[in-house]
């Protein structure tokens, strides 16, 4: 059974803070993804990684960066959090298109 875990379920940060969201998968998947989930907008891809230290921008990378130092771990970094980054963040991992998701982190930036 695939497990994708995210470091926090709920997070409240102040504007300008640096924020780290961690994701860990236990199925040896090469591909990992970070999405934002917003009502009416669906899931939008922020960044994805297809191998250790390899990453590509998704559809909305502005204001975010990522790190993948180990195969099982993919981190999303908000360099300077802003209120428009308040959202639900989903991490996913997968092989050929079937993606497995974490429970999500609801981030509130005040």
């Amino acid at each position: 059974d695939v497990k994708v875990t995210q470091s926090s379920r709920y997070l409240v940060k102040r504007t300008g803070e640096k924020v780290f969201l961690e994701c860990v998968q236990d199925m040896d998947h090469e591909n990992m993804f970070w999405y934002r989930q917003d009502p009416g907008l669906g899931l939008r891809l922020i960044y994805f990684s297809y191998d250790v230290k390899m990453k590509e921008k998704g559809d909305i990378p502005e204001g975010y960066s990522v790190s993948r130092e180990k195969k099982e771990r993919f981190s999303l970094i908000l360099e300077s959090a802003s209120t428009n980054q308040t959202s639900m963040y989903l991490c996913g991992s997968g092989g050929s298109y079937e993606q497995y998701f974490g429970p999500g982190t609801r981030l509130t930036v005040t």
């Binding site: 994708v4 090469e30 591909n31 993804f33 999405y35 009416g40 907008l41 669906g42 899931l43 939008r44 891809l45 994805f48 297809y50 590509e56 998704g58 989903l90 996913g92 997968g94 092989g95 050929s96 298109y97 079937e98 993606q99 497995y100 998701f101 974490g102 429970p103 999500g104």
Partner: protein, 111 residues
């Protein structure tokens, strides 16, 4: 560019009624299409994919390349089908399993 459109944000039906969640896509290559579902307080999970041609929880979806659609159907809706449904499109080649999701449809099945 890949695009997925789910025209209905909300869909309400009564238990036992047929339900159809619409999905249209735009893609120049050979598409791979999926439906994902998120039940209340649960994580997003795969419901079905077009290549398997399975029926999962009574749901089916047929890929219509002429109409570029992949509508999700169930003949008799159940209350436990109430959830958020996302249609997703995958491309071929070096897309690394990247998916493009639609905006989602919230299905509510009333008793």
């Amino acid at each position: 560019a890949q695009r997925v459109t789910q025209p209905e944000k909300l869909l309400s039906v009564f238990k036992g009624a047929p339900v159809e969640l619409k999905c249209n896509y735009s893609y120049s290559g050979s598409p791979e299409l999926f439906w994902y579902v998120q039940y209340s307080r649960q994580r997003l999970q795969l419901l079905l994919r077009h290549i398997s041609r399975e029926s999962i929880k009574g749901f089916t979806a047929d890929l219509n390349k002429g109409e570029t659609s992949f509508h999700l159907k169930k003949p008799f809706a159940q209350e436990e089908d109430s959830a958020m449904y996302y249609c997703a499109l995958g491309g071929g080649g070096t897309s690394y399993g990247k998916l493009t999701f639609g905006q989602g449809t919230i299905l509510t099945v009333h008793p």
